[in-house]
């Protein structure tokens, strides 16, 4: 049993690395992108789609599906990368990043790409939209879950705290919030720009069930997903401690990768680093 779990975790880790490569493929096409947050969030999003969520890429509008809303819409390269890997659309769509009328614009559009549930990008919208879905699904007696990811800098948007009260008062146990707590936003440290930490304590005070994990550790991610729905009559917030730019050594914890416009050499180095890891993981799995 343990062996199977380790195998599954290693598979997920490999998929996450392939998704990092997909993100770099979009940067190759468009020349830039919000990759810092995309890389910090990618392990969680990968596990959601490949381990937890009840979805069907061939029928993306399936009424009983679980939903994932990326409130921090600028991290959408991560979602595009995972949706492509999952088979929602052909991977060559990734090569259109930055093109006129691309299906994968810099912030997601539900009417352009299958698998996108909401047009996020303006911060502080996703949690409310997710709650509307959770309320409606519950009233239809569907057991689908709604997962929403927020960035930590996004917590300064007051609408999130209005929504925090709603989820608790309406006891939305079918709602799970992942906070991508990489600690950095465009102007620097989240705690210095506007301190909403410790965020977990704040959600607890609103009446949420709160869990904390290392959001770049697949073992911990899988463990927390196994708990969902985690708490009767309460929404759950998972504070995910992550690293901005995770997976490319020279980008990790660098605020400059929030929106990255690399020169050819830097991009090549990043690709080499991720591909080397993929190669090694594939060898290990074959062995």
């Amino acid at each position: 049993m343990e062996k199977e779990t380790v195998k599954k975790r290693k598979e997920l880790e490999l998929i996450a690395e392939k998704c990092r490569r997909n993100i770099l493929r979009m940067v190759e096409a468009g020349g830039h992108g919000h990759i810092g947050g995309a890389f910090s969030a990618i392990d969680i999003i990968t596990a959601l789609y490949f381990y937890k969520m009840r979805v069907n890429p061939k029928n993306p509008k399936w009424a009983d599906r679980d939903r994932f809303i990326l409130s921090a819409g600028h991290k959408c390269m991560a979602q595009y990368a995972v949706l492509a890997e999952k088979g929602y659309f052909p991977k060559d769509v990734l090569d259109t990043y930055g093109e006129l009328k691309s299906k994968i614009p810099g912030h997601p559009d539900m009417h352009k790409l299958p698998g996108i549930e909401a047009n996020t990008g303006a911060l502080g919208h996703g949690l409310s939209i997710a709650e509307g879905m959770a309320l409606a699904l519950r009233s239809e007696k569907k057991d689908a879950m709604v997962y929403v990811m927020l960035g930590d800098g996004e917590l300064a948007e007051g609408s999130n705290w209005e929504a925090a009260a709603v989820a608790a008062q309406y006891r939305l146990e079918n709602l799970v919030l992942f906070l991508d707590n990489n600690g950095l936003q465009i102007s620097g440290s989240v705690e210095r720009v506007m301190n909403f930490m410790p965020a977990g304590e704040k959600f607890k005070a609103f009446g949420w069930n709160v869990l904390e994990i290392d959001g770049n550790n697949m073992e911990e991610i899988v463990c927390v997903l196994d708990l969902m729905p985690a708490c009767k009559e309460k929404p759950t917030a998972v504070i995910c401690h992550t690293v901005k730019g995770k997976g490319v050594s020279f980008l990790e914890n660098e605020v400059s990768c929030h929106f990255w416009t690399p020169d050819k050499e830097k991009l090549k180095l990043a690709i080499q680093e991720v591909e080397a890891r993929i190669g090694k993981m594939e060898e290990e799995q074959e062995a």
Binding site: A118, G132, L135
Partner: protein, 311 residues
């Protein structure tokens, strides 16, 4: 003889509740605003479809969008500036850009909240909401039309903003089926066409009778859909009269008058006068005093029409 008057909010709430008896997809959202929007009875009869959120209009707008993605038809009514200005980005992105089937109703629109002051007035709602692509903007003119427009907006698939007023309104004509995007000729005439909407229509009709007695032949067009604007009827009015005046309880810029002027500029250039509220934070006072002050009472409309006809 005094015509019967009805509360626009109760009229709207009753009309939505009636449709909701048949259509279980309809849900009512409240930001501490449902009771005052005519939904007291609905809340009692259908607590499972009545959601109270407290005073958080931006979040309620987002929640409405999320509900609509699952197939609900959310109706959210509150004081007009709070469901148009306060939540504008949510209206634009979550309802407009996401094109969700949500009905937002701004009550106490225009300056019908009169002595509560400029924070509670809504004189730019047409302007800002009509700039959101794909959103229908309605402004019915009497209680019967509020009922008919409420039914029409619930049948329509897509985001709708409807403005209603506050003081009791007269029934101006028997209730008719409401067709989104269509204006109608309320009175024929040949010297001037007055195009009007919402609460202003009643006074325009009376003003037109007075102008008639003064020897002017005045056409009156009621325009309860602000967006999409009825281009054909504007062209017809321009061709028949050669002179158009618009009257609305809205800022002069950006409202019905601007939409009419846009159509005329492109398709049928004629002389136009846009009569509304000048761009300032409107003064406070009783509704009747405000109508007088901004010359939107019967005498004020007659005066402005005469000046325009003789100008």
């Amino acid at each position: 003889m005094m015509k019967e008057k009805r509360d626009p909010r109760k009229t709207f709430g009753a009309a939505v509740s009636e449709v909701a008896e048949e259509n279980e997809r309809i849900v009512v959202l409240s930001a501490d605003s449902g009771g005052s929007s005519g939904f007291k009875e609905f809340a009692k009869r259908h607590p499972e479809r009545y959601y109270e959120f407290g005073i958080m209009e931006q979040t309620v707008t987002g929640i409405a969008a999320g509900m609509a993605t699952v197939g609900k038809i959310p109706v959210f009514c509150a004081i007009a500036p709070f469901v148009t200005c306060r939540n504008y980005e949510m209206f634009r992105n979550d309802l407009g850009y996401m094109h969700q089937n949500v009905k937002i109703v701004g009550r106490n629109g225009g300056f019908t909240y009169s002595d509560l002051g400029a924070t509670h007035h809504s004189l730019e709602d047409f302007a800002i909401i009509k700039m959101i692509p794909g959103v229908v903007v309605l402004c019915p003119q009497d209680p019967g039309e509020i009922r008919a427009a409420s039914k029409a907006m619930l049948e329509y698939e897509g985001p709708v903003y409807m403005r209603i007023g506050n003081p009791a309104m007269e029934e101006l004509w028997p209730e008719q089926k409401f067709e989104i995007g269509k204006g109608s000729v309320l009175k024929n005439g040949s010297n001037l066409a007055i195009i009007t909407t919402g609460t202003a229509t009643r006074n325009v009709l009376e003003a037109a009778e007075i102008l008639e007695k003064k020897g002017y032949s005045v056409m009156v067009i009621g325009m309860p859909t602000i967006q999409p604007v009825d281009r054909e009827i504007i062209q017809m009015a321009a061709e028949k009269t050669g002179r158009i005046m618009t009257v609305e309880e809205h800022y002069i810029g950006g409202g019905l008058g601007s939409s009419v002027a846009d159509v005329c500029a492109e398709y049928c250039p004629v002389k136009i006068k846009i009569h509304g509220v000048k761009k300032e934070y409107a003064v406070s006072g009783s509704y009747e005093k405000l109508l007088q002050y901004y010359e939107l009472d019967v005498d004020g409309i007659v005066k402005n029409a005469e000046e325009f006809l003789n100008g």
